[in-house]
């Protein structure tokens, strides 16, 4: 039990992941979907940072008397991932704006109806 609780970071990761995915699935609002996606990505950031941690280690900066350091690489990688995430969010939001201009709504159901009508029209 304690072992499972000891991995609480992972539980948080999984919780965030599920929340993100659930948001994407449950909502028809495009902006909320983007937010869900962001949460989903954030869970991964946490996952990486967590796995880089070493018990009793310090930040990977040379300090006298410290033998163990956390693995710096995951954190570094996550910097890239954050950039990617931001870019993605930017593109997604830009698209949402364009969709709003084109369809007059950002609700997926309504957009779908409009597209359906367009398809029938040819």
């Amino acid at each position: 039990m304690s072992e499972a609780l000891g991995l609480y970071n992972y539980w948080i990761v999984i919780f965030l992941m599920m929340t993100g995915l659930y948001l994407v699935i449950s909502t028809g609002n495009l902006v909320r979907k983007v937010v869900g996606l962001n949460i989903f990505q954030a869970s991964v950031l946490l996952l990486y940072v967590t796995m880089g941690r070493v018990d009793g280690a310090t930040a990977p900066i040379f300090v006298e008397g410290r033998e163990t350091y956390t693995d710096p690489l995951p954190s570094v990688l996550m910097l890239t991932a954050i950039v990617v995430g931001v870019a993605t969010t930017a593109v997604a939001l830009a698209l949402t704006v364009r969709i709003n201009e084109a369809y007059g709504t950002i609700e997926e159901d309504e957009i779908n109806e409009q597209e359906h009508a367009q398809e029938l029209a040819g």
Binding site: Q41, T80, V91, L95, I99
Partner: protein
């Protein structure tokens, strides 16, 4: 120069992209981009020749950091082959683009198009050459993000929703890959794929690796549009600008398949103790591939939009590649790799032909293609040749890959698999013939202006791709033979 060969194909478009963006001049930007693409292509060909003739992979350590700490570009035959595939199709399609986008994209966005195109290409090439798993994710996202932007340039407003859908799913897929990568790093302590493969045999945490594989498979399945994870593809292909469709269809899913091959064969291993690919190749991939081959082909039959039809056909064709990969044999893998290339040529050519048609009649609806065989004879003839390639008629490249695939199935005494492969290719006959019959046997719609043949600047790139798909149906030295070489390398059969 030659020692930098491995990095050149990535570097050139990556550096040229901002230049194009900054040039702002439509003609200058497109000119630069085209020139860069062709130079990249030449570099890719030289790279492939070097790799094939020396028989050793070209390795480039970025910044001089060695594999355990830095990022290493590791170009073996397969990677070089994919580089040539992407750069060649990129170059040809971009040559097609100026005239095509003139009608489809506002003029002030052309430099933007050029930059995005180069960026997307750089990302795809990067995936091919890198030996670092995280790097794969980064390049994947570079290419994906630029592709989203490219697709959203489509005239139809549905391009926007299609892009959004692609974006959501693509990001989910990429994130899955990221998760898988992280888990793998956790288990092996390295991001270099070769080293990862070495460590994976010693690792205790088999379960974590299995979870990683699940995430990676689902993620890359999404990216390569493996049925039933293909939902983003049809509309994205359908509503994107013609040249974007051609480029994306020909390269992006193919590179994803490459990634899959890389993981299965380089990291997880397929033979001996410690091989982790068991369920993937035994069950998951074949099941998805076969259902895709049949269902997506059947869906293609009922389409009224020809680009959408071709998109669903792509989903089916991805199935062939995945099936080839899952067979874990020399000819199976050869089939998968050769089909990457052959199908890229064929489908690229077909989408370019659709571009010609869209350029002239402004529509890609089947109903609007009535009687087109007489009005645009050359374009339709090229289309027919490409269609035959999809079916896998002899003398086309599609035949070569099908040959290897069936052979691989029979070598494993899987007669049923061979029958399935051939039967599913018959579905292609139906959807291809629907278009041919419409174009040749129906009277042109009334009230439309007289349609003439597409301009040469569009026809020539189309003809080059279709011609290549015929050429490589007969002369396989630089397609299937190289694919076979790559397959042997991956399977550890020393040549």
């Amino acid at each position: 120069m030659s020692e930098h060969l491995a990095v050149l194909p990535v570097l050139l478009p990556l550096l040229a992209a901002p230049i194009c963006f900054l040039l702002r001049n439509r003609i200058a930007a497109m000119g630069t981009a085209i020139a860069v693409c062709w130079v990249t292509f030449v570099a890719g060909v030289v790279l492939l020749r070097t790799v094939v003739t020396t028989g050793a992979p070209a390795i480039y350590e970025l910044g001089g950091w060695s594999a355990d700490v830095g990022i290493v570009y590791h170009v073996d035959t397969l990677a070089a082959f994919v580089v040539v595939l992407v750069s060649s199709l990129g170059a040809v399609v971009l040559t097609f683009a100026p005239q095509s986008i003139a009608k489809e994209i506002p003029k002030e966005k052309h430099h933007f198009f050029a930059a995005l195109y180069l960026l997307s290409m750089a990302g795809l090439l990067g995936i091919a050459v890198t030996g670092d798993l995280f790097n794969v994710f980064v390049f994947l996202e570079i290419s994906s993000l630029s592709t989203y932007a490219l697709i959203s340039l489509g005239q139809d407003r549905r391009a926007l929703t299609a892009t959004f859908r692609y974006l959501i799913l693509g990001t989910v897929g990429a994130t899955f890959i990221l998760i898988g990568t992280g888990l793998m790093y956790q288990m092996t302590g390295t991001l270099n794929m070769a080293e990862m493969a070495a460590h994976i045999r010693e690792t205790e945490g088999v379960r974590t690796v299995l979870v990683a594989i699940a995430f990676l498979t689902a993620g890359i399945g999404l990216k390569m549009a493996l049925f039933p994870l293909h939902a983003w593809l049809p509309n994205a292909y359908c509503y994107a600008p013609s040249s974007v469709t051609a480029f994306v269809a020909a390269t992006s899913t193919k590179v994803s398949v490459y990634v899959l091959i890389r993981w299965i064969y380089t990291i997880f291993g397929t033979q001996g103790p410690g091989s982790m690919s068991g369920v993937v190749v035994d069950l998951v991939l074949p099941a998805m591939a076969i259902s895709g081959m049949f269902i997506a082909s059947t869906v293609a039959i009922f389409q009224t939009n020809v680009k959408r039809l071709l998109a669903f056909s792509s989903v089916a064709q991805i199935g062939y590649m995945a099936l080839g990969v899952s067979l874990v044999s020399e000819s199976g893998l050869t089939a998968g790799i050769a089909h990457l290339f052959n199908h890229a040529l064929t489908k690229g050519g077909l989408f370019l032909a659709m571009g010609c048609i869209a350029y002239r009649i402004g529509s890609v609806q089947l109903a609007d293609m009535r009687g087109l065989g007489r009005r645009m004879p050359v374009t339709m003839f090229l289309w027919v040749l490409g269609g035959l390639g999809l079916i896998g008629v002899p003398c086309t490249a599609g035949f070569v890959s099908k040959w290897y695939l069936v052979r691989a199935a029979l070598e494993q005494d899987a007669l049923y698999l061979a029958v399935i492969i051939l039967l599913s290719s018959l579905l292609a006959v139906i959807y291809v013939w629907r278009v041919i019959e419409t174009a040749y046997f129906q009277e042109p719609p009334e009230g439309k202006d007289e349609v003439t043949e597409a301009p040469l600047s569009l026809l020539i790139p189309t003809a080059v791709l279709i011609g290549a798909s015929i050429y490589f149906g007969l002369f396989t030295e630089w397609s299937a033979d190289v694919a076979g070489l790559a397959a042997r390398e991956l399977l550890g059969v020393v040549r």
